[in-house]
């Protein structure tokens, strides 16, 4: 498929929620190693609330995703709440009015969402954060789109790039977020946020394509 409508965006969030619930313990374990042991619980709680959002008749994609963003902001807390919340709030904006979207629109939305994460969190690539997964995902999506790939192909490329970015965080010494307090001891562990961001994109590839 080359376009996605609101029901697929709903499916994306439902799939992400299922995935995060299943992986909550894994994410929390990653956060226990270099953080405070709450990332999986935070993410699972937040996305469960999003997945439970009532179906509003004739709702646009942007309206739905804005609600997702606001739900995350108000349900997650910690660092990941404002970051993922902002991601969805900004992701929604370029999709205003659209009822079905293709690679061009999603590229715009994804870039806006990720820019929002940077605006909020001020992370740079290599800081060992979710941005290390999101940044290459945006580039890969854009590359695939300009190469003529359909939405599924673009998201597939983004997910693969995100996974690469996630893996790249392992040797890094964290410079942002809680893991930075560990200094050198933060090296040798995957970043939990980069891991959950990868799940989000893998889920998009499954649900939106």
């Amino acid at each position: 498929m080359t376009v996605a409508d609101v029901s697929q965006f709903r499916a994306w969030i439902a799939d992400t929620s299922a995935m995060l619930t299943e992986q909550a313990e894994h994410l929390t374990d990653l956060d226990r190693a270099i953080g405070d042991g709450d990332h999986g619980t935070n993410m699972a709680r937040g996305f469960a609330a999003c997945a439970a959002l009532p179906d509003a008749d004739g709702e646009g994609i942007d309206a739905y995703l804005k609600k997702v963003g606001m739900t995350l902001v108000s349900q997650v807390g910690g660092a990941s709440g404002p970051l993922y919340g902002t991601f969805f709030l900004r992701f929604a904006a370029p999709l205003a009015g659209a009822t079905s979207v293709g690679p061009t629109e999603v590229a715009q939305a994804l870039r806006a969402g990720v820019d929002g994460v940077v605006a909020r969190g001020k992370a740079e690539v290599g800081d060992k954060t979710m941005y290390d997964a999101l940044a290459p995902a945006v580039r890969a999506f854009d590359g695939a789109a300009s190469g003529g790939a359909d939405l599924a192909g673009c998201l597939e490329a983004a997910a693969v790039a995100a996974a690469g970015g996630r893996d790249s965080t392992e040797p890094l010494v964290a410079r942002k977020g809680r893991a930075s307090y560990l200094g050198e001891r933060s090296a040798g562990h995957l970043d939990p946020g980069a891991t959950s961001a990868t799940m989000l994109l893998e889920s998009a590839a499954r649900s939106l394509g």
């Binding site: 929390t28 226990r32 190693a33 953080g35 405070d36 042991g37 709450d38 999986g40 619980t41 935070n42 709680r45 902001v73 108000s74 349900q75 997650v76 807390g77 910690g78 660092a79 990941s80 709440g81 404002p82 970051l83 909020r120 969190g121 410079r175 942002k176 977020g177 809680r178 930075s180 307090y181 560990l182 200094g183 001891r185």
Partner: protein, 334 residues
């Protein structure tokens, strides 16, 4: 995991219900927003202090709500900063027309959530909000390229001192300036003998050998800067005080407000023993302890260990420190 709880997901709200039941005269608890508020509504014409953060640090912050200290505390999930909605609701609930000071500990999550709440308050055109960020933990290197130092023990002292200033009727700017002053001249460092277990995680955040301790821990059960062999109390006191004194540049003849704080699982007996070491080291350095606190004031669930906070004192700070305070966690002069 061995804890006194029902469903781990409900621990914060059930504990807040317990606080409400235990302090019906002095506190109003908003279970929906997970807020602890002074009973009796906003104090008209005075600056209101709102703090908050993840739960698991009790008595901070909910236990510091009351006359002479906080007006509201926003309670996040365990070790998870509160969300903007909570902070906004607290801000609106306590605003008495003279502005609201947000007291925020320097963690990415806390900063962002309080920031968003302040943005929302500004958009709403309601309360005037100012924010102070505490970052007193010398275990973490301060740098423009990183997250900077964590906010820990100084937060407690700041809430007490600025709470007294607000009670006196100082303006929002004055309260903010005082808060920044307190943060600027206070430093802390902590250590852990054991980890703690986040209820929802169900297992200890880290594992420590029988002969090891963590130096330079924060208050979220996180590992510290270095894992070192267990040492006698007198050496631990040196390890904690050394960087604090050096960073503050404390000189002979100066005086401080000192706190020896338990992380939650260390008996008071040991905290007093630690205070004995701290007092001895400061005396040898010619530093006078003007006031002190020894006990569990900013904890990390059931973690065993302690932290030391020193705040360079002056007459103004000591006077504000001595002013009446009437909260579940700190009470004197009333």
């Amino acid at each position: 995991m061995k804890k006194l709880l029902n469903d781990p997901a409900d621990v914060v709200v059930e504990a807040l219900a317990g606080m409400a039941a235990a302090h019906p005269d002095r506190l109003d608890v908003d279970l929906e927003h997970k807020l602890v508020l002074r009973a009796g509504g906003p104090v008209q014409g005075k600056v209101a202090l709102v703090s908050g953060g993840g739960s698991g640090h009790e008595p901070m912050h909910g236990g510091y709500v009351g006359t002479g200290m906080l007006h509201a505390a926003c309670c996040g999930e365990v070790f998870t900063s509160p969300v903007p909605d909570q902070i906004l609701a607290a801000t609106q609930a306590v605003d008495g027309g003279a502005g609201v000071l947000h007291i925020v500990k320097n963690y990415t999550g806390d900063i962002m959530n309080f920031e968003m709440a302040a943005e929302m308050a500004a958009e709403g055109g309601g309360a005037q909000v100012a924010s102070v960020v505490t970052d007193d933990d010398v275990a973490v290197q301060d740098s423009a390229y990183t997250t900077g130092r964590r906010g820990v023990g100084v937060t407690v002292l700041l809430e007490k001192i600025v709470g007294a200033a607000a009670e006196e009727g100082r303006s929002l700017e004055e309260c903010l300036a005082l808060a920044q002053k307190v943060n600027g001249q206070g430093r802390s460092m902590g250590m852990a003998l054991t980890s703690c277990t986040v209820p929802a995680a169900g297992k200890p955040t880290f594992e420590l050998g029988e002969d090891e301790m963590e130096l330079g821990i924060g208050i979220h059960g996180e590992a510290g800067r270095a894992r070192v062999p267990l040492a006698p109390a007198r050496e631990i006191a040196e390890d904690l005080l050394g960087p604090v004194v050096a960073d503050l540049g404390l000189a002979r003849g100066e005086s401080v407000i000192a706190m020896v704080n338990g992380m939650g699982g260390t008996p008071l007996l040991e905290l007093y023993l630690m205070y004995n070491e701290v007092h001895r080291i400061l005396a040898a350095a010619g530093v006078t302890v003007a006031r002190n606190l020894v006990g569990n004031y900013i904890t990390s669930l059931e973690m065993a260990g302690c932290s030391v906070t020193l705040l360079r004192a002056d007459d103004e700070l000591v006077r504000l420190w001595d002013a009446p305070v009437d909260t579940p966690g700190l009470r004197w002069g009333v």
